[in-house]
């Protein structure tokens, strides 16, 4: 089998068996149990929650991230094996949502790790979550869910942003701004 067909097969397989990392990063985790259980049952799609990042394929960042959590999220994300996908869950991962002026939550998740699908809403309904899964399947099928490749490609940019956020220091942000201008 040539490489093209092989990767196509890989995509079909990984689409039908996405394992989710069991990491509740924010309050959005409250709508995950209904999705996992009898009402919505995501195991119909072959998805279920895994205890450790090594076994997981998809990372649902459920809600806002405090900087302290972001450190763990990055660690977990890096421990996951390629190909891996990220779903940004709720308004908080898009622009901060309710916590737009909170000193401790990052506002835009895509600055720190690549995000494949966003779900809007606070909090998103289980139907919206299921819909995002279908969207992700579709993207995997078409080969558009390439967040993990982006992470390898722009690794230094992601790392720089992460470092800045972890430091909480205004001067670091300014330094980078000046570097960019030069």
């Amino acid at each position: 089998m040539n490489h093209e067909n092989w990767s196509k097969l890989a995509r079909i397989m990984s689409k039908r068996s996405l394992w989710m990392i069991h990491f509740c990063t924010g309050c959005g985790a409250m709508e995950m149990p209904p999705v996992m259980t009898s009402r919505y049952d995501m195991e119909r799609f072959g998805m279920h929650a895994m205890a450790t990042p090594r076994q997981a394929d998809v990372f649902l960042v459920t809600g806002y991230l405090a900087v302290k959590t972001l450190k763990r999220v990055v660690q977990v994300y890096e421990q996951m094996r390629d190909p891996k996908y990220v779903i940004g869950f709720g308004s908080c991962t898009i622009n901060g949502g309710m916590y737009w002026d909170s000193y401790n939550t990052i506002k835009d998740l895509s600055k720190y790790i690549p995000v494949d699908v966003y779900i809007a809403g606070c909090m998103p309904r289980p139907e919206a979550i299921m819909d995002s899964f279908l969207k992700l399947f579709d993207m995997i099928d078409k080969g558009e869910a390439i967040g993990w490749q982006k992470y390898h490609k722009y690794y230094d940019q992601y790392k720089r942003n992460q470092r800045m956020a972890f430091s909480y220091r205004l001067d670091e942000v300014k330094d980078i701004k000046e570097d960019d201008k030069e």
């Binding site: 401790n104 982006k150 722009y154 940019q157 972890f166 430091s167 701004k177």
Partner: protein
């Protein structure tokens, strides 16, 4: 004995809510006395930042299951670097409250060995719950300034 009988200076601000304003050296004594007189549940220790007066108000709050009464013991300390004696020997959970107030307001509690980082991690600025810390400005200067990842 109820709080009003124990301390004549106590004022009833609402039904079942007693407020005692006192000095910081008397707090330990009052809490001890209340604890021995049926006020056995320590509810919480709060800190209020009265920036115009330049004071922090520490509010020790206790509840009596017996009298169904909530007592707030309030003291004021100077905002700039005045420390307070730790009350952790009276109720174990005070230690955690003091740890949080130390982190969020910068109040130092003498005699509490466990004042390490609690909620934040590596926070280099002034304690964030102080009134003069402007969270909106910080967010605009920091999170919004972090550049987006540029894709070539």
């Amino acid at each position: 004995m109820m709080a009003k009988e124990l301390f004549p200076e106590a004022q009833e601000i609402r039904k079942g809510r007693i407020r005692i304003e006192t000095q910081k050296d008397k707090v330990g004594e009052i809490i001890k006395k209340l604890k021995d007189n049926g006020y056995e549940h320590f509810v919480m220790l709060s800190c209020v930042d009265w920036i115009k007066e330049g004071k922090f108000e520490l509010v020790y709050q206790m509840w009596s299951y017996q009298y169904k009464e909530h007592v707030m013991i309030s003291i004021k300390i100077n905002r700039d670097g005045e420390s307070m004696l730790s009350m952790r020997h009276l109720f174990p959970q005070i230690e955690t409250y003091e740890r949080e107030i130390h982190e969020m307001f910068g109040v130092n509690f003498i005699g509490n060995p466990n004042l390490k980082e609690f909620i934040l991690e590596g926070w280099p600025h002034m304690p964030p719950m102080r009134k003069d810390f402007d969270t909106e400005k910080f967010v605009k200067d920091f999170y919004y300034k972090i550049p987006e990842v540029k894709e070539e």
